[in-house]
């Protein structure tokens, strides 16, 4: 497969994942739309190209660790893992948030060990990733696999995030990559109105991180940026991933009101609630 073909295949896969996210959220009747749609390209690139992993052997010692700090976007992870061949069936996807389902509203590692951690309350994933990295170092395996931690931009407002950022800078981790979903929204509005994060790049640089930025809807750019991040030595790397919240569904894009609601429950000024899932699927399936 040529590089061009690979990128096209990944783009098609990301779109399929977005379609399943809409279906799953509609069925659940609750959950977050904007973040999962915005992160679909990164998750696709991760599970179908970047990560060293084995869906049939999720406890493989040498696997790359993917830690999801902002647990509320977990629908995109469930769907991507299903597509990647993990033990999550299509039927199970439709049980999201329902009684008895393994697919908790926020990820539970006790239900699905391949999730690496349980998460939900914001600002904790980076600390846990530091713990993973210390364990890896103590075992003398710092060169053997990469630790990725995905964060939201909103959770950069949590003090604990900066405790961990300071710690990672001190430890000069190798093969340690943080990715911030810089979609500029949080539940109550735009990040820069709620509590400004900028200058975000300079903040992490001041904490002794190597900082990169990428357009996280350009599949080739995601892959090349992460590749480059892995070549940085003795310094944690932060990738500011510029994303469009609600990406792929025109009436959801860049509208913070879609942060925490599923299709069918969203703002009705553009599309009536009853038509939201249908309209979203029509748009995605037409791509």
């Amino acid at each position: 497969m040529t590089h061009y073909e690979k990128i096209k295949t990944l783009e098609k896969k990301a779109n399929d994942i977005r379609i399943d996210i809409i279906k799953m959220l509609e069925e659940a009747g609750a959950g977050h739309s904007a973040g999962p749609l915005g992160m679909a390209d990164i998750f696709t690139a991760m599970y179908f190209d970047i990560l060293k992993h084995n869906p049939k052997k999720p406890d493989w010692e040498d696997r790359d660790r993917l830690i999801l700090s902002n647990g509320h976007i977990v629908p995109v992870r469930y769907v991507t893992m299903h597509h990647a061949g993990y033990d999550i069936t299509r039927e199970e996807l439709m049980t999201l948030r329902k009684l008895g389902s393994r697919l908790e509203g926020h990820p539970s590692v006790k239900r699905i060990p391949a999730l690496e951690t349980s998460s939900g309350p914001l600002g904790e994933g980076l600390s846990e990733a530091c713990g993973f990295a210390m364990a890896r170092r103590l075992k003398g395996r710092e060169q053997d696999y990469t630790i990725y931690v995905l964060m939201s931009d909103g959770e950069q407002q949590e003090g604990m995030t900066w405790e961990a950022a300071m710690f990672a800078g001190k430890q000069k981790f190798n093969n340690f990559v943080g990715i911030i979903d810089r979609n500029n929204i949080q539940i109550d509005g735009f990040t820069e109105d709620i509590m400004p994060l900028e200058p975000l790049r300079e903040k992490y640089e001041a904490f002794n991180w190597h900082v990169m930025e990428m357009n996280a809807h350009d599949m080739a750019e995601i892959i090349s940026t992460v590749q480059e991040a892995k070549s940085v030595h003795q310094q944690p790397v932060l990738i500011i991933a510029h994303t469009v919240p609600g990406k792929g569904v025109d009436f959801m894009e860049n509208d913070y009101r879609w942060h925490g609601v599923p299709p069918g429950e969203g703002p009705e000024d553009k599309v009536p609630a009853k038509d939201q899932a249908k309209r979203a699927l029509e748009e995605l399936e037409g791509k």
Binding site: S108, K110, E124, S127, G131, M160, E163, F167
Partner: protein, 323 residues
Amino acid sequence: MDYYLDKNYLNPKKVESKKMRDGAGIGIAELGETKKDVVVLGADTAGSARASFFAKKFPKRFIQCGVAEQNMTGIAAGLAYEGMVPYAITYAAFLIGRAWEPIRTTVAYPENHVIYVASHVGIATGSDGPTHQMTEDITLTRCLPGFTVIAPADYEQARKAVKAAYDLKGPVYIRNVRDATPNFTTEQTPFEIGKAQVLREGKDITVVGHGLVVHSLLLLAEELKNEVSLEVINMHTIEPLDGDTLLTSAKKTGKVFTAEDHNIRGGMGSAVAEFLSENNPVPMKLHGVMDEFTESGTMEDLLKKYKLDKEGIKEVLLDFVKI
């Protein structure tokens, strides 16, 4: 049952005083020799909270987190996810209080085996004042599903508790007093997590304590032996609570008194009351820090003023006995 207590344990002048935090610190350092997966985390209190014993011996396995207790818990969780056995050590107020929600989410919910070892518990912390006198830590830990909560009675028991905690599953909390207290148990004294110790048998009233009050209860039992017969229980493990031992004793005496250097709201006394109210309701008196913030002072002065020294406990106990 023979508990092999120090032969002079009823003579306060002859019992050696030692610090529980030393016992815990030394115990973890001893454990580190055989258990290579033990990692210790400190939060700029390695000296005073006694992580230093381990840090000196095993510098590579000591992680200095700085003044950042929430991050310390997150790191401990990450280590536990990867199969290490982390001991997070600092003052109770910060270890448990500051980091409570990260403990709930990153450690308790995923059942991570992280062992929290606190120094500076209770009003016995003394002159630092109420900000540092942690009197709500038992409440905060025993309400989290799966937590084991331990309050050693002295130096020797603290040393045993940190070692025994290694073999448990899930989160563990061990609370240790800052200042020296009578070291009335010995190396031979058995210690089993979850098994309360009936250190003295009696028939009139069951008195239950943990931590530094246990020794005072033993002295009181001796002092009052001609007036009232006290059965003294060291409830060193508060969660899971040893209901069987409590039940047997409460059925025999029909009256239960609890004492602890901890807020009476949600502490060991509450745990005992919860259990007995459902299984064998008897008249009870809960004594401890009476739902208030206290003040600075020496340990001795504070225990005296807030009636948690021998004389203070006696006064409250005798009032209850009369009822």
